[in-house]
């Protein structure tokens, strides 16, 4: 099962969708090569889930054409359903069944046959580290375990195309890394993956191509590198004990921006250790005392600012943006 790059796993052209008078998707077009990972990046309300629901045959688009693994979504939905797997934002597991029973249910509905079904169930339990919890009811599972089982259920029928709607939202960092590893392995095995995320880092880590979705329109698309070139890079913030050292440092670093009130100097930087060492060594040689340093990498808001000219939170609840933001911490990349 190897991918054939260049063959389209997902092709959508001019997809429009309105709910009442509210236009949710406006002429969305995207193409995902077989065996590659495509990330739809955008805030809540951008239309990410809607496009996943349309492509996975759950709801109908108002207009546009879509083909999944060569099958038309409108005229051959069962052909599409036989080849896709969907893991949504909300866990699609049966709480009154055990882990094994949930997977067995999927195997039965995929008509795998008793022996092949049992083998596949055991295989997935082992692959997703759920063998110990296999005979426990889902109501006793932790969030990370549920998400793993959810994805395992999606994979029972060995789908050619997988839709992952915010697969790591609400997961702890360790579970998130596990999930990333699984997604990479799937793509390596030739599965086409469309995932949605609010997290630039996630898109950067996983995706071959990223599309930025804003208010129902794709406002930017490209490889992670292409996209990052359009974003103002990260910066380093130097905190000083007094105005004198701030002034000295500002004179030495012409590209920087000084904030006299907070005694902070903002210096463009890519966040690598080498550039940071060079910056701090230079100041040290000049005898400029830096009290504290913090590193800020680009986040979703920077992407949005760059491609839409407005901040993510325009017209959205402020709380929704927090989940996507990585500012304020020292990012380890």
């Amino acid at each position: 099962m190897t991918g054939r790059p260049g063959t389209p796993g997902i092709v959508a052209t001019g997809v429009c969708k309105s709910f009442g008078s509210h236009l949710v998707l406006d002429e969305v077009s995207l193409a995902v090569d077989e065996g590659t990972i495509f990330a739809l990046l955008g805030p809540n309300g951008a239309g990410k889930t809607t496009i996943v629901r349309i492509l996975s045959t759950l709801i109908r688009a108002d207009s546009g054409t879509m083909r999944i693994a060569g099958h038309d979504v409108i005229t051959d939905p069962d052909g599409v359903r036989a080849r896709i797997g969907v893991t949504g934002q909300f866990s699609a597991v049966d709480n009154l069944l055990t882990g094994t029973e949930n997977l067995q249910l999927m195997a039965d509905l995929r008509h795998l046959g008793p022996d092949a079904g049992r083998r596949r169930v055991a295989e997935l339990l082992a692959q997703f580290d759920l063998t110990d919890a296999a005979d426990k009811l889902l109501s006793t599972y932790s969030g990370g375990m549920r998400r793993r089982l959810d994805l395992a259920m999606t994979l029972v029928g060995q789908p050619r195309v997988i839709f992952l709607d915010e697969p790591t939202t609400g997961l702890d960092p360790r579970s998130r890394l596990t999930m990333w590893e699984i997604v990479r392995e799937l793509a390596a095995a030739g599965v086409t993956i469309l995932l949605t995320t609010q997290n630039l880092d996630e898109a950067d880590q996983l995706a071959d191509r990223i599309a930025v979705l804003d208010q129902g329109r794709i406002v930017a698309e490209g490889t992670p590198d292409e996209l990052k070139n359009r974003i103002p890079g990260g910066h380093v913030r130097l905190h000083f004990a007094g105005p004198d050292s701030l002034r000295q440092a500002a004179q030495r670093l012409p590209a920087s921006a000084a904030d006299d009130d907070h005694l902070v100097l903002q210096v463009p930087a890519d966040g690598t250790v080498d550039s940071l060492r060079e910056l701090l060594d230079g100041l040290h040689r000049e005898g400029v005392a830096v009290e504290r340093v913090s590193i800020h990498t680009s986040d979703l808001d920077d992407v949005f600012l760059a491609v839409t000219g407005s901040h993510v939170d325009s017209g959205l609840e402020a709380g929704d943006v927090d989940a996507a933001s990585t500012t304020g911490g020292v990012a380890a990349r």
Partner: protein, 265 residues
């Protein structure tokens, strides 16, 4: 496998899931089976002495037991379909239904699983009720054929009300609503010839009681179990069942196919 074979296979898988749910959610299953039994004891031993005095030719508690059992059989049906509605709504408000809808499985198999599961549950609950009624002294002159016809009629009516409950469960926006709406069916059993003779009711109520679907059902079953000719009642009962089943089935399938996401984005 052919399309029909897939449909049967998928429905069987969904039925097994439904039966597992009944076992894993025993509090509801027990409540649905227990309700008619509690009412049987209540109506025979608390109200039965007095209600039995007004029955006419055969009087007393024993006669009332014979009189009320068909009504309680319909209470059993009403209780079971309340469970159907709750189970369907639980499925629809959970995430798993969207998974089913993105899989190439027979469209109606999710609903068929609920219908068959509820039908089996209803028949099991009815079996327990009948057994207890006999233990308490219930006597029937209906004979094997009468019983067969009565159970067939009850199964048909249960099938119709279960589809109605499926539609109500699909239409409900929450599990609470799905649990409350079928309560009206309980009320209809009491507003029928199930517990008292309709000619003891005031005029307006009597007319309602005589024309609503539960009365011809009760009268038919009572006639079949006591060996009295049922005549037109059975035809009316069958007509109601077929009508309710057809309308509810079409409504349920429509709701199932139309279902939209709660949150559009």
């Amino acid at each position: 496998m052919s399309t029909l074979a897939y449909t049967i296979s998928d429905s069987r898988v969904m039925l097994r899931r439904n039966l597992k749910h009944q076992l894993r959610y025993p509090s509801m299953t027990l409540m649905l089976i227990g309700m008619p039994i509690v009412l049987l004891l209540l109506f025979v031993y608390v109200f039965g002495g007095q209600l039995g005095a007004g029955l006419g030719v055969h009087q007393g508690r024993g006669a009332y037991l014979d009189y009320v059992v068909p009504g309680l059989m319909l209470v059993t049906v009403a209780a079971a379909v309340q469970g159907t509605s709750i189970m369907v709504a639980m499925d629809m408000t959970g995430g798993i239904i969207d998974r089913f809808r993105t899989m190439a499985i027979a469209r109606a198999s999710v609903l068929t699983g609920h219908v068959l599961g509820s039908l089996l549950q209803t028949l099991a609950a009815m079996g327990i009720l009948i057994g207890l009624a006999f233990a308490l002294g219930f006597r029937s002159a209906g004979g094997a054929l009468g019983w067969l016809a009565a159970l067939g009629l009850l199964a048909l009516f249960a099938f119709a009300l279960i589809w109605l409950a499926v539609a109500l469960g699909l239409a409900a926006r929450s599990v609470e609503t799905a649990s409350n709406t079928p309560m009206i069916l309980f009320l209809l059993v009491f507003l029928s010839s199930g517990f008292v003779r309709t000619d003891t009711m005031p005029v307006g109520l009597r007319q309602f009681a005589e024309y609503q679907p539960f009365s011809p059902m009760v009268d038919s079953v009572r006639g079949l179990l006591t060996g009295v000719p049922v005549g037109g009642h059975a035809i009316v009962a069958v007509a109601w069942s077929v009508g309710i089943a057809t309308a509810s089935y079409l409504w349920a399938i429509r709701l199932y196919n139309q279902r939209r996401a709660a949150d559009p984005t």
